[in-house]
Symmetry: C2
Subunit: 693 residues, 2 copies
């Protein structure tokens, strides 16, 4: 693998940083090399397609790198044994009979099977074959034996998407790993090699959809859907397509005015409908499998149908109609709330907004519209309740939105492995159809008869050499892909896979990094915002502590701390009534101070500092304890990491160490400001008499 | 008068806005016109100089505008009577004998005398004649009779300076009235007509020195002292010179490295000394009366002598030596403190910094160095103690620094007439040489044997049509000039002068605006920071309330509020010992809670919310009262102003009304956030049960 952006970043570069989990490091055990060489020396490919070419390329590169043997590619089964790549159809055409049952498989499913001294990678389609190839390589990198393979695999979620928040000037909204790999100086990049490497990384973890521009669409990117940029969009889409990835674009709802020169963007105006049809027709000329549009409308000052007194359904459907003949979809974001709230107004509750706005519209959206709902009702805090809108619209397609980029969780300076957080969301039981109606069942489409569903997330990559700023943040990229492929995987399993592929199999490294990753979310929560209260960050950039930073703001994000206590009363009895948006028994559980889980206590209730948690500690003592403990834990992370010196290449070692040191500075500042703020406000001393300023 | 920047501002323009207090409005009373015409129809000028030309031009323009008669300019006394402009010397040469005593007059002094049916404007030099001309016009605009004039006048302060904080990209640091009138796109402007009008305004109030670029000198402006820009600096200096104004430049202390290509800027290095000499020689080729350098060194990350282990005196003296042969001076700013303070550290006190840094160096500076000391030890807060450094260095020239631009006092949105604040500073008795050693005596140079002294201030003007954003902020520009000319003028006298010159003599207008101006400082203080505590503003831009905005910052600006009380303990007994920097009995007065004035209580002491003020009110009740009252007072300002509709031209009327409305929004936000913050923290209810959130 070459380093594509050596010249761009002016940083110390390393192949290891750039390669992420596709290291394909040389295998040194001679017995193992011999065994693998006998299995992997021939690649027998029975079909022809771009995706199969991509699979062969990946296998060839990987095998050559790991075994120092260049495999031979053959196009028919003969005397030579090896890895057979085939779709189910071509297997039949070639009269190869294997015992397996693919009747249940989706179009993206695949089988990996040992038979006739071959390893068969069989897909329902060529995409499945490609996924199978990456799966095989994962087994090799994970030191798994390649004998008696009999794997049947398919993704649980249909839409598995990454949203780039890349701006055409090259900046990335909420990006913490350099500049955009897609855009520079208001053009699409000419560095397509890096985009190809990105496609490999995405495909290797099963991501099948990418929107390449920021959902906040201003000025130049408004024109991405026009002939000015479509030839270059096509180049990008061509690369993604060969890795099984569909390309989407974020659009500006005011496009009919801004590029169509109409005097309105009213979705019910015939000329607007005509405009969008024309746009769609044009796009599909260049990108025949174009995925569709991502839309942030009537949200945070972005234009939308409200201007014309139309609702979200009317707003989305005009786009859906235009895309329908081509098979495209509209992904309509539900991040809609009053972002000019008066902090004095305690009745308006931002947490209520998505549900209040969208629930009444259930069933009014066309079937190629999907509503994209953030995992929590606020905005990707380190801990918040699961959005009650998920599962509340049986007649409207939904996609769950996560945030891989660590906007509120340390910005890839601080370590925060997010897979455990996402798993909690997936496992949350909405009770929408009685007990067991978990979020993962909803996104998998097995609860409601959704024509589209799945998961999307904001990307955490940029043009930093190591893609994610902090090398360990690669685990979130990897983990996101793997988890949404199969939400039943454990956070630990995913961590282990990632560590072995990324750093190799040294047990000390595996054990240490695994522990660091798995503790990191709790550590981050410990020294930042406790008990579900959220925010308390510096305005705008959202990094670092500022307890009152959003307290008197327009954003609807308050903690209401006074000398007696804090928290947001979202109960029906005395608060904003938000708890009522949940199905029973969740609504009752959150409503009651007794049954509300402590980790969301301040999200749902305003309590005194002396309120006793289920641990027996008071709220204020919990504050002090977790903040002191959080800093100690970060010191522990540094100690652990330092012990790996020499076991990890110098560049990645130094990168993580530098980030951990920044994290420690951040953690101490959080500890001291937070504790001081609440000590000054409550007047209650720390039981253990630790230093508070 | 023409409107020079009509095309630049794209705002509604009006001659009245642009003309400020040099309106020269048409006089309509026929008797008065006749009288004035007979006195002012001839201008008899006995010398020739650029400044006399400027005086004649001003008189001609003004008389023509007010009387609709173009005065005739004559060069010798003959049969025609009129206004005689002459230096003392030319008066003697012309054998004109008048009874007056100019023996006590400084070089800038002048006499206005009625004699032989003439009005004589006699200066020690041509500068005095120019000042006399503006004085005469002030009398006419103020409706004063021109009979039996016998005025002897001279400025009390020698250096009367304005510091522009203009950047060469056209922006202005802490500017609230548009862009720079001096620079655009990293060049000096070609719009010299506007600079000439600025010179007229400055000269009309007696300002005699201007530094044209920001004290924070980065990149391009570093090169203002080189041949690249000196030809254009010369053009600007030529204009200023003809209005009696000397031009200064702010320099970058790292210039020897950045433009001299030396490897050091060490003031004791011979090559650095050589560098500065060469620079000075070059400058004086272009600007023979160049004033000198303003230097912000070793302050807020700007380079300085500390890098080379040299002190401020060594740092300043190298520049002074280079300027000395040409008569130039170095103005060295004392705004030096630790701007990376740890908020946890309660022993470091920013208020102490200037004194601690500079007092030990008394006597070590060359006699053409002046230390520029801000009026307070912190940074131009609405209320702070007077800097104890003023008067504490008998053997070192000092200049007092005010801030005309309203950085912390409403940013020319909110009304805040600053003359009363400045007067309090001037009248402060330092006791440096026993009772009566007021600040004004120190700046006038009558206490210590200073070779240079006076006052400087940061400008509040930009390229807005009305120069100051808020029309009423013109009063601060005017008032600053007038007050430092004569610190014994009252704030009310100055306000009246300004109002009559600016808006005319309608009694209702005069009375209303005068009341608005004179109340405005107290009103601003009422709804913002009380009892001398300061700050509580939004970080960086410093507008609007944010109680904890600077509480956990690196800037050394804290209020230390907890549930019991707030304030900074600067006593010797239990605090930072700052009170000891004052002479007795001030030190004892501030040290004692009993004698410390309430309006500076929280500047010097940390007290409980229940501490009783001399008014009988508790601190917390005072907080609530002033904040509610402040908003009501702003509503009162609006009411008062609205009643002037029709009596003031529409553009200026609308401008002020718009600003007042912004002020009301600001005041309400201050009231509500401030009161809520302290109610939440103290738990003490408002006695009057007014609305706190």
């Amino acid at each position: 693998m070459t380093i594509e952006n050596k010249l761009n970043t002016q940083k110390i570069t390393s192949e290891e940083s750039y390669a992420c989990w596709l290291q394909y490091r040389k295998i040194t055990d001679p017995t193992l090399v011999e065994k693998l060489t006998s299995s992997l020396s021939n690649l027998i490919v029975l079909d022809q397609s771009e995706r199969l070419t991509a699979a062969i390329d990946e296998l060839t590169t990987a095998i050559q790198s790991m075994l120092e043997v260049k495999p031979v590619t053959l196009t028919e089964l003969g005397e030579e044994n090896g890895v057979v790549l085939a779709t189910e159809e071509s297997l039949k055409l070639n009269n190869i009979e294997l015992e397996y049952d693919v009747s249940e498989l989706t179009v993206e499913g695949y089988v990996i099977k040992s038979a006739h001294n071959n390893i068969y990678l069989i897909g329902k389609t060529d995409k499945g074959v490609l996924y199978a190839a990456f799966h095989l390589l994962r087994l090799v990198q994970g030191n798994e034996p390649l004998t008696n393979l009999n794997i049947i695999e398919q993704p649980k979620n249909r839409l598995r998407m990454i949203n780039q928040w890349d701006n055409m000037d090259g900046s990335i909204e909420r990006g913490y790993a350099g500049k955009s790999i897609f855009f520079e100086e208001n053009k699409i990049t000419s560095n397509l090699a890096r985009i190809k490497d990105y496609a490999r990384l995405l495909s290797s973890v099963g991501i099948n959809s990418v929107s390449i521009n920021n959902v906040n669409v201003f000025e130049v990117p408004t024109r991405l859907i026009t002939e000015e940029f479509l030839p270059e969009v096509k180049n990008v889409a061509d690369i993604f397509r060969s890795y099984g990835i569909t390309t989407f674009l974020s659009i500006n709802y005011a496009s009919p005015i801004q590029i169509g020169h109409l005097h309105t963007a009213d979705p019910l105006a015939p000329e607007v409908q005509e405009f969008w049809k024309d746009v769609a027709n044009e796009i599909y000329k260049y990108v025949p499998d174009f995925g569709g549009f991502i839309v942030k409308a009537d949200s945070e000052h972005r234009p939308g149908p409200f201007t014309y007194d139309r609702d979200h359904a009317e707003g989305a459907n005009v786009l859906a109609k235009a895309l329908k003949p081509h098979g495209g979809i509209v992904i309509w974001r539900c991040f809609v709330y009053n972002c000019l709230q008066d902090w004095r107004d305690r009745t308006t509750d931002r947490a209520r907004a998505a549900y209040d706005n969208f629930k009444p519209l259930d069933g009014k959206f066309l079937d190629n519209v999907i509503l994209q709902v953030k995992n929590g009702p606020m905005d990707f805090q380190v801990r918040e309740a699961v959005s009650p809108l998920l599962g509340a619209m049986p007649n409207t397609n939904q996609v769950l939105e996560f945030q891989v980029t660590q906007e509120y969780t340390g910005q890839q300076k601080d370590l925060c492995y997010l897979v455990p957080l996402w798993k909690e969301v997936f496992d949350f039981d909405t009770h929408a159809r009685g007990e067991g109606t978990t979020i993962k069942k909803i996104t998998e489409g097995s609860v409601f008869d959704y024509s589209h569903s799945g998961v999307a997330a904001v990307s955490n990559i940029g043009n930093d050499e190591n893609w994610t700023g902090n090398t360990l943040a690669q685990a979130n990229f990897y983990g996101y892909g793997r988890l949404i492929w199969n939400p039943d995987l454990s956070a630990e399993e995913i961590a282990l896979e990632w560590i072995e592929a990324t750093f190799g199999n040294d047990p000390k490294v595996v054990e240490t990094v695994s522990k660091m990753l798995l503790q990191s979310w709790e550590i981050y929560e410990n020294y930042t915002t406790p008990l579900g209260i959220g925010w308390m960050v510096n305005p705008n950039h959202h990094y670092g502590v500022n307890v009152d930073g959003y307290e008197y703001s327009v954003w609807g994000t308050y903690h209401f701390a006074d000398l007696n206590g804090l928290g947001v009363d979202r109960t029906v009895a005395t608060g904003t009534g938000y708890t009522n948006q949940y199905f029973s028994p969740n609504s009752e559980m959150y409503e009651s101070l007794e049954t509300c889980p402590d980790d969301l206590l301040l999200f749902f209730h305003h309590v005194p500092y002396t309120h006793q948690l289920k641990t027996g500690k008071t709220v204020i003592q919990h504050f002090y304890n977790t903040h002191f403990e959080g800093v100690e834990q970060v010191e522990g992370l540094i100690e652990s990491w330092i012990k790996l010196e020499g076991k990890i290449d110098k560049i990645r070692f130094a990168n993580v160490l530098e980030r951990l040191q920044l994290q420690l500075i951040n953690a101490k500042e959080w500890r001291d400001q937070f504790n001081t703020y609440f000590f000054r406000k409550s007047g209650i001393a720390d039981e253990k008499n630790r230093k508070i300023y």
